[in-house]
Amino acid sequence: MSAGGTSQTGRALDAAQIDAGVLEAPTRPTRPAAGRSLAITARLSSLVVAADRVWLPALLLFFVIKQVLMVMLIGPFSGHDEVDHFWYVQRFAAGNGLGVVGDVELPPEARPYEPFVADYPLNSEVIQPPLYHAALAIIGNLLPGDTLTTMFVYRLVSVALGLGVVWVSYLIARQLFPGDISVRIGLPVFVALQPQFSFEAAIVNHDVLVILLATLGCWLTFRGIATGFSWRLCLAIAVISAAGLWTKVSFGLILPVFAVGLVIAAVDGYRSSRTTDRNVTLALRYLAGRGLVLSGLPLLAITPWFARNLDLYGDPTGSARLQEISDYALSASSYREMVFSPVFWRGRLDDFWGNYGWREIPWDQSVSQVVYLCWGIAAVGFLAVVLRQATSWRVARLTPVLDGFQARCVGLSVLAVALMVFAVLYVGTLQFTQSRFAFPAMFAFALLSVLGLGAWLPARWRWVVPVVLLTGLLVLNLLVAVRFVIPYYVGPGGGQLVVPEQ
């Protein structure tokens, strides 16, 4: 059964036709024996719309250079949990195995960074699944350098992962809105220049890998809605999910997006078949079989980790252990208190955009208020899109803003945002919470923001959106770096920078 197959064929042609007048059709390699590198280049090139072959490489290159500069400008180990993550990696690099929270202490070299450690002298991050750390340890073993050099190299890995997030965000934009340049450019621009995401992609932290895997999973899910969930696609999503869970257990909160995507594809497939051919049993078998691969394999893969946590800490995720970090548990609150507290939401907005490190470098209110105003305008615009879309389903003469495929994927993006906001609240019930826990849905925040900004303009003027967005975010990043970030660390009269002893 090929769920959604009929609509996909129509969609693919549709996209090509739309592009035909303005853009070149995607190219495919014409010389099959031209070598592996040529094939990869051709494959990459086929993923990029012809009109995007100048600005996209320019944006990606800019992202890399900007991030490398950030790697240098963010003081060593001053990122959130960076000390713990770094020495968790070094623990593997030294040949030591998984540690037990409460037993594993940071080495004496970490002493100068005590203010940046959640539970000094203990390394709290050994509570995390080890995929990111074990993978980095392989690189660490190859490095002869000192602590500072090793930290910079690990940070550069985060830059590469962040680059992957920007790239996959573009692929999502291209997949959903192939003919709309404002979204195709706006979405990756938002992700590449979102200040807190940029910070995340310049420090040693497993969150950036989680963001990449979640974005990849969502992209493949959207593909499944368009083309149907083949076994291969299900397996790919399952492998990504397993990797995500082995990186950070909270990755599990994005899994419902993949599951709902599968359900949508199954329902689409059922409804698109001819009435006489409709077979509920077949549809349910499709759903059950693929659902088993999609959710069963990742759960099976993470079971050993859950079993270990259950054995050591008494709960499968180990999250209860987080409450034992004394100062952090004091920040825990109830869902009700958080949801109805304007101060809580102001804090989360501050975290989402600025508040670098352990909130050590906040923005001034004058800067954040301008950003929140712009984001509020985008939010109102997106609500208008939703309202118009909902109305068009009932009023025949109104043209919907989104086609069926787009509406489904935008709906899933809203679900991703909602789940990640729940993640922020959930952590808040255990300990000190931060908006970065919502970042696996960064592409979705970007998509909804760009759609919302575009909603304020007539179609012929929407080309302005990416230009304004890029200009605004460039100015914001520059302003924040010059006014707050660099002066926090260094100045002629000193600063908070602490450099490791060589």
Binding site: P178, D180, G494
Partner: protein, 230 residues
């Protein structure tokens, strides 16, 4: 529509011109930098007595110290005429001597004891720049005016600022950061990376502008297409 090579050249040239303009602007336009302090401000809590006091020590890390943002909180039923008068005193710590004294007045509703989540939290007080402020420690204190000498007002935090040029900040970065190379190489690497970032950002902006330019006259697809219902 020009081909990719032409567009790349156009974006590159436009980016170079744009980055030159950006560099000129950055050199000419001064910025107000916030001095280094954890969480951005100096808290004025006297932990031994568990109270907020009316002053605090700050150590600007840039020259040209010329502004403080004060987090003032007024308690009680309000001041006469609904305004509070204050005098800000700035004195050096090593040799106690008042070097700046600024009288200012704040509307009572600007400094309520409790505020809504998004209300402005600071009162800016500007004074003549102190050229050699980098690395010096100052005591900033607030005194209530005669009209409201008996009212209860506290100072929760102080943020301090200097107005400097962007090259000053870049020079501080080049001198301050250590990347693990020799100091001379560290400086060069930071300078080159900063320049390349501006150049790449400008090229990127030019490329985006170039890509969207023809879109104005083209029908925009995607959201403007009729919906294809499943």
């Amino acid at each position: 529509m020009p081909n990719a090579a032409t567009r790349t050249v156009q974006a590159g040239l436009s980016g170079i011109i744009l980055s030159a303009i950006v560099l000129v602007v950055l050199v000419l336009v001064p910025v107000s930098v916030r001095h280094s302090a954890p969480f951005g401000s100096v808290q004025t809590v006297d932990f031994s007595r568990s109270i907020a006091v009316m002053g605090g020590e700050i150590t600007p890390n840039y020259p040209g110290f010329d502004r403080v943002d004060l987090d003032l909180r007024a308690y009680g039923d309000g001041a006469p005429d609904d305004r509070y008068d204050f005098v800000l005193r700035l004195q050096t710590v090593e040799e106690p001597q008042v070097i700046r004294r600024v009288a200012f007045s704040v509307a009572a509703d600007r400094i309520p004891a409790t505020r809504s989540a998004f209300a402005p939290i600071s009162t800016a007080v500007e004074f003549d720049p102190i050229p050699d402020s980098a690395g010096q420690t100052y005591y900033v204190s607030i005194e209530r005016g005669a009209r409201n000498a008996d009212d209860i007002v506290t100072l929760w935090g102080i943020r301090s600022y200097s107005t400097v040029s962007v090259p000053d900040v870049l020079l501080a970065a080049m001198d301050g950061y250590r990347l693990g190379f020799s100091p001379g190489t560290d400086r060069k690497v930071i300078l080159v990376a900063a320049f390349l970032t501006i150049l790449a950002g400008s090229v990127s902006a030019a490329a985006v502008a170039g890509a969207t330019w023809p879109a104005r006259s083209q029908p925009v697809g995607g959201r403007d297409r009729p919906a294809s219902r499943p």
